[in-house]
Symmetry: C2
């Protein structure tokens, strides 16, 4: 490697800058950027992500020249700080932190106070004039280094600390004096020697290289790999290592450490928001072990807290911080999440990065930043993670609903959720896989819990503040979260939690309100959110950018109304069979299925006709002239069959046949691979009377709405599971005939289209031919994914976990469209379909329609619309706008 | 239409010729050709297939100008024959016959004696001096015209004839005198008038146009549509209509009609072979109603028949026929099937066409024609229908096997078959669908029986000769057939047949030997055929032309030996799981499946290892250095699970677990869509120890054969169900590691390849990527067809019949590769695979590998080999040679 391996920063200058995120990681790039902005940053240097990749690429060896570059950079820090690395009199201490190009909170390990040893600790004590501080720092270093670099589990150190407290009668760390810490340092070193078989490293360079190696190694630990998978971060990005002169927030009462957001990350309000801990170091705030204090007086007063705010206790440092807040927002034009330390009254900036925020906060901040002239509308639209707005679209607690309050905590991530309490991440995942709704309850969460947090509908902790791990991660995931419910006594062994004499066991239902910070017993009714204000403004901007139409999948009037409420421009998929399961109808459906002759079948269908007609008429009225794509019967008939003996007897009685005949029919219809069986258009071809009834219901409903309601109606009749043009042509002929008959009988002009699903590879390949008669295509990428991969969703549980762990599938192809395989067939079909019929209408229906990356793909290949579940419509609108903006699209209208 | 609509022939000249088959149909083209050759052909004309297409294309209307052209051509016939159409004194009578570009025996209807009416019949009587002949001709005309053109079912006429015989005491037609026929004509006309509501048409031109229309309409009748579907004849080819002056084989004892083959169509021997009936007309020979006589004296003597041969009774006409036989073979350079009539001692040729023949006959004739210098080797290879040689490759009766003879008949199509006797085509089809082996038994067959003949393994009739419908069709289909077993009394109502006091009921097993003309009770043991002589010569020529390699799918030593016997150049698919079902092994397999831990699983696998190793060693030894492609475990584990309670208990005992645990495991493994489930490489990824065992068995077997037998071994390890390169790479790493370990442990050098099945659409699309590490691809077009069509073979029975009837699928995609869909993916994968790895080895395995059209497709896209079942290897060799010849390929070596 001939490039520069180490980038220095400090004292108003830096080798790097914010734009070098890929090479320096987010933290390193921003430290450099802050230096260039003239902010007070302890000097240091960043070892690049290229070194990380070289390290893994060469079997864990460092590139040549790295040591020399580090030595040079260290010398510069020594010079700047005026201390010497390993100098027994005036030791330079450094922190070693990871910093990847994408924020991975809590994923990577950190070592503070590196450079301390039996000699330099004395120098530190002398220079600080505080022997207690020095040995506290030393024991912290041994503990961190021991667990992170040497692999000795954290709890061994904690046990020694707890023993020491018991022996000495101390309760809080602050009650331990210098001698106590010194004694503990001795025990820590003995622990290390015992478990490692060699003494704790005393050489500061050996310490440094150990820490650098540990940071790199942690890039490949299980937590990091899991996080990357969850957030689609490629492994080859690598992490940088930041080595920086230590500053101390724990050198006395004029010291502090804190975390702040330039705006409220929960509401987005333009207020300074944060927490600090006096006389504390590094990770104490985010670790959630001590409850931190408010940054501002206003926040303290609002919370009716006693502990004074930083604004009150350290007005000068606070004033400097407020100035920096303004500088950072003006510079980055985005909400920042900052870490700082006050050492002996002097403010030092340790980190700045784009703040994680709730969707509500993101919307408000984006809108207000447009108003403030900080960003333009395209930037505002681009600022919102489409998936995040999901949290705004789901129900919140109905204010009028009765509830039994259990405990209070701090509101850490908005929204409400009910679910069964579970006390471990693994159980959360297991139950969620089984289809249960769960709330994960922990004293505090750690990166090991991420899979459980992901599986849970909500998170509750008894410790920690609003910047604790649980709070930060929950907001990122859009899960409601209540933290610091300190009244809760959680007993993992008993799988229960108790507060105020009430015990909730694992499996009992609770409800959390992440906006209010409340926990209720049982389930509590919810209400739909209001979609106005910032949401409405921003979605309006998004709509002006996007080119892709957005429709919803809806069958019921309620779904259709929700769809319109969320801005759907039509219905892209109405699954007629969903209407078949209604209690009254299922009997007629089953009579139709068990019918022995076409005549009997027609009689049963005649009973269904008026019901389907009413369904469609309702949809047409609600959609008021917007296109409505109706898919004719798709699932195999056996899906509608009665299961138990009671149901069988009922159907037999209704159909006037024997129970044995019903069972025989069920046996006849059973399939080995129903996914590839007698379904879709194959039903329409073998039982044309079924499709005929459905077509008649559609056109009679259309005629009715046109005549009675004087509303236009645009039905799009969609044939599922087409593999050949011959199938489509047969059924289009049937549909056209029925349309003609209805138009003549009702004396109306019917405007409609007939098209098909493209959900089989063959249909995609033969799209050019099929487009000869099909007026539209709707890509059924769910089924297409199943056939392209040869992968039944229902049966993948046996191996999908192994696939995930082995990284066989980069992303779940059922969540985000497999661009390389499924996507290529969609692209082929689009090209071929358009070549035959340039104005063919092309859309996608199914779950991918609500996935932002899939929406972007649909935009890129030029589809006309995507259709998704009503609740996903705003996500799709936003994703479509971002895709257009990414291609340089301008606002319309 | 401005082209010529009517082509004339006769008197040594013709407008058309043999090369105009598409326009004139086979019969018309050959009639024209025979005229040009100067053969005695009654004059006539052919209405082109273009007229047929115009007729159907314009809603059953004739093109303008047709009537004028027909009038002109008729006038020419009148002039040539010296008679007038409709002339009461000297009437011209014509035949009207269909004639499609492809031979469709018995499919199209024929009308003879057209032009007869109440006036002209008297003229005919006077001119022929035979009133009986004239009225017999008239009643035949009314009967044929009535059923074919007017749609009055045949049996109405037969009933009147039978009644007349009863009334008059006549037994044979020949016993009816002129008055009798005249009376019957009256009754026939009354029948027509009654059923039709109008009199039988007396106008000869109305008769002619009616017959022409009926020929065209019959192109679309169900029999014709079925036949075309069975033989892949496109509907748009259309049929021509041949109108030709009548000659009479029934004007007296110096008249005859007959059918002959220029060589023996059963053995291929270069002898004149045929039958004739004196004083008979048209269809009497092929209809099988009267048993015809031998053409030659030699044949008569060989059959020990009494009735004199044509050679003996009509030496002059016979001599002329022998001359024509020579002329035709020299001209067409192929075996001909001819129809002739002798009218008052004069020979007339009515038809010549390429003769249908058995595969044995085709081989012998082709070889002998090469020896005779008539054709070259490429033509000889091209002459053999690859599918037809299937009949040579299957067992014949073991001469030593005990048997109980039931009856004798005539040998009509060679080969032997055992199956349950069935008495209707529908039942044959139904039972065959249910997997039963059936023999179709009929008094005689007709085109309505074709679907049943296709479904049956053999055909037995009590009437008819070796050119009867049953015999001709059975030979074409390659089914063993015995005809004319006249002792048999077949009672359709009782569903039974009786001979010599023995009754065989439907469902009882019989055996027929189509080479000997014998029928046995029960099943009789069979032996493999000898594959030498003509077969060996012709296959040798084929091998010299083909470029495509041919391998076999084989697991057992017996299969592998058969494969080599049939000329396989390697094994293209060895399904390791087929070895798992052996009684001894299945227990170990099941223990492996129910194992709770990897350790238990490894223990069970360790017991399987030596068995699989022995299997592979056997294969390697037999294949003696030829490549052997071994597919690692593919089917889902539940396929191996015990079914009944006894088996469950057995497995539980063997594995040392409870029956409940076995049932639970079975429940866990159950799948909704096993075709798309946990199988193929997904098993290898989740249970790497299984593939590891199999890889170890392969390489240890290879090492053993290399060391102990000093034979080279070329294993090709094949990973099934690959969807992504990541899957393949994971498993290739495992295979390579095991190979390395075995090579080191056994100290041998192992030469092997690792590749994968391409059987999922995604793998085909990503072939370029996968070829980065895969050294070969084998297209699994069975599964690819299932995923490309979204069609489970197991579940298609519910709709595939309707699809067939509606013509939705032109061909069954599981029989012949769907070139447009599945084929395109194979083409894409081939291009992409080769782009990455130019020398990648490409093959196909599965049933398409033995289908000639699919083999031709594989040749065209440049695959290296096809692999099929051992019995299909010769078919594939021949098909590959024909594909190469079609592209102008030359002989090698």
């Amino acid at each position: 490697m001939s490039e520069k391996l180490v980038y220095r920063f400090g004292a108003g200058t830096a080798d790097g800058g914010a734009e070098m995120r890929e090479l320096l990681g987010g933290k390193g790039a921003n430290l450099a950027e802050m230096c260039s902005l003239g902010l007070p940053v302890p000097p240091g240097f960043t070892i690049t992500t290229a070194v990380c990749n070289a390290y893994f690429g060469s079997g864990d060896a460092y590139p040549r020249g790295l040591a020399a570059e580090i030595d040079g950079a260290l010398a510069e820090i020594e010079h700047s700080v005026g201390a010497g690395f390993g100098d027994a009199k005036n030791p330079l201490l450094v922190s070693v932190r990871s910093g990847a190009p994408a924020s991975m909170p809590g994923m990577m390990d950190t070592v503070l106070n590196l450079g301390l040893n039996d000699r330099t600790v004395e120098g530190l004590a002398a220079r600080a004039g505080d022997r207690r501080f020095a040995f506290d720092s030393y024991r912290r270093f041994i503990q961190m280094y021991g667990s992170v670099v040497l692999g000795i589990e954290h709890h061994f150190f904690e046990d020694l600390l707890e023993n020491h407290k018991l022996e000495s009668g101390a309760v809080l760390d602050t009650e331990i004096d210098a001698g106590g810490w010194e004694a503990l340092v001795g025990r820590y070193k003995a622990l290390v020697a015992e478990r490692l078989g060699e003494p704790f490293p005393q050489d500061e360079r050996e310490q440094l290289w150990g820490a650098i190696g540990a940071v790199f190694e942690s890039w490949m630990n299980r937590r990091a790999v899991t996080y990357r998978k969850l957030h689609d971060i490629p492994a080859h990005w690598g992490t940088a290592v930041n080595v920086q002169a230590m500053v101390f927030g724990n050198m006395g009462e004029d010291c502090a450490t804190g975390v702040a957001f330039t705006r409220d990350p929960s509401s987005g309000e333009n207020v300074f928001y944060g927490e600090y801990l006096p006389n504390a170091q590094g990770e104490d705030v985010v670790a959630g072990i001590r409850t931190p204090r408010h940054l501002t007086r206003a926040a303290r007063e609002a919370a009716e807290a006693d502990a004074p705010s930083m604004e009150e206790t350290m007005p000068a440092a606070y004033g400097a911080l407020c100035g920096i807040r303004g500088t950072l927002e003006a510079h980055y034009r985005d909400m920042q999440d900052i870490e700082f330390t006050v050492q002996s009254g002097t403010l030092w900036m340790l980190q700045t990065r784009a703040a994680k925020r709730t969707a509500r906060a993101a919307l408000r901040a984006a809108c207000e930043m447009v108003d403030e002239g900080l960003i333009d509308r395209a930037q505002a639209v681009g600022r919102i993670d489409p998936l995040s707005i999901d949290q705004l679209l789901h129900p919140t607690l109905d204010p009028a609903a009765p509830r039994t309050r259990f405990v209070r905590g701090m509101p850490a991530s908005p929204g409400a959720a009910s679910g069964r309490a579970v006390f471990s991440a693994d159980e959360a995942e297991t139950r969620a896989r089984a289809g249960e709704k769960v709330i994960l309850v922990r004293t505090e969460t750690s990166p090991e819990d991420i899979h459980g947090m992901h599986a849970a509908l909500g998170i509750l902790t008894s410790r920690g503040g609003s910047t604790s791990h649980a709070a930060v991660v929950a907001r990122g995931m859009g899960r409601p979260c209540v933290v610091g419910a300190s009244e809760l006594a959680i007993d993992y062994r008993a799988q229960a939690m108790t507060a105020r004499g009430v015990t909730v066991k694992a499996g009992q239902t609770i409800t959390i309100d992440g906006s209010a910070g409340e926990v209720m017993l049982g389930a509590v009714a919810t209400v739909e959110p209001e979609l106005s204000g910032d949401f409405g403004r921003l979605m309006g901007w998004a709509d002006a950018f996007r080119g892709l139409g957005i429709r919803a999948n809806a069958e019921t009037p309620a779904d259709a109304e929700t769809a319109i409420h969320f801005g759907a421009e039509g219905i892209g998929l109405s699954r007629t069979e969903h209407m078949f399961f209604d209690a009254e109808r299922i009997v007629a459906v089953r009579r139709m299925i068990v019918a022995a002759t076409e005549e009997d079948r027609r009689a049963a269908l005649a009973r269904l006709l008026p019901m389907q007609r009413d369904d469609f008429a309702d949809l047409f009225r609600i959609m008021d002239g917007r296109p409505v794509t109706i898919r004719l019967l798709d699932p195999p008939l056996h899906e509608f069959l009665p299961r138990g003996e009671d149901e069988i007897a009922g159907v037999a009685a209704a159909a006037g046949v024997s129970a044995e005949a019903v069972r025989r029919r069920a046996h006849e219809l059973a399939e080995v691979n129903p996914m590839l069986g007698h379904r879709g258009c194959r039903l329409g071809i073998t039982y044309p009377e079924i499709y005929e009834m459905q077509a008649r219901a559609i056109f009679e409903a259309a005629a009715r709405v046109i005549v009675q309601d004087a509303k236009p109606v645009l039905p799009e009749v969609m044939i599922p599971l087409i593999a050949t043009k011959a199938e489509f042509d047969l059924l289009k002929t049937l549909v056209d005939r029925v349309a003609r008959e209805v138009a003549e009988a009702e004396d109306v002009e019917l405007d409609y289209m007939t098209g098909c699903m493209i959900e089989l590879p063959r249909a995609a390949l033969r799209a050019g031919e099929i487009a000869g008669t099909a007026e539209f295509f709707s890509y059924g990428t769910n089924d297409l994914t199943q056939t392209v991969f040869g992968l039944s969703r229902d049966d993948s549980s046996g191996f999908i976990r192994a696939y995930d762990e082995l990284g066989v599938l980069e992303r779940d192809p059922f969540v985000s469209i497999d661009v390389d395989g499924v996507g290529e067939l969609v692209r082929i079909a689009t090209e071929r379909g358009r070549a035959t019929r340039p104005d063919i209408k092309l859309g996608i229906c199914g779950e991918h329609g609500g996935d932002p990356d899939s929406v972007a793909f649909c935009h890129r290949i030029g589809l006309d619309y995507v259709s998704c579940s009503p609740y996903r419509v705003p996500i799709a609108r936003l994703a479509a706008a971002q895709a257009a903006i990414a291609e340089g699209g301008k606002e319309s209208g």
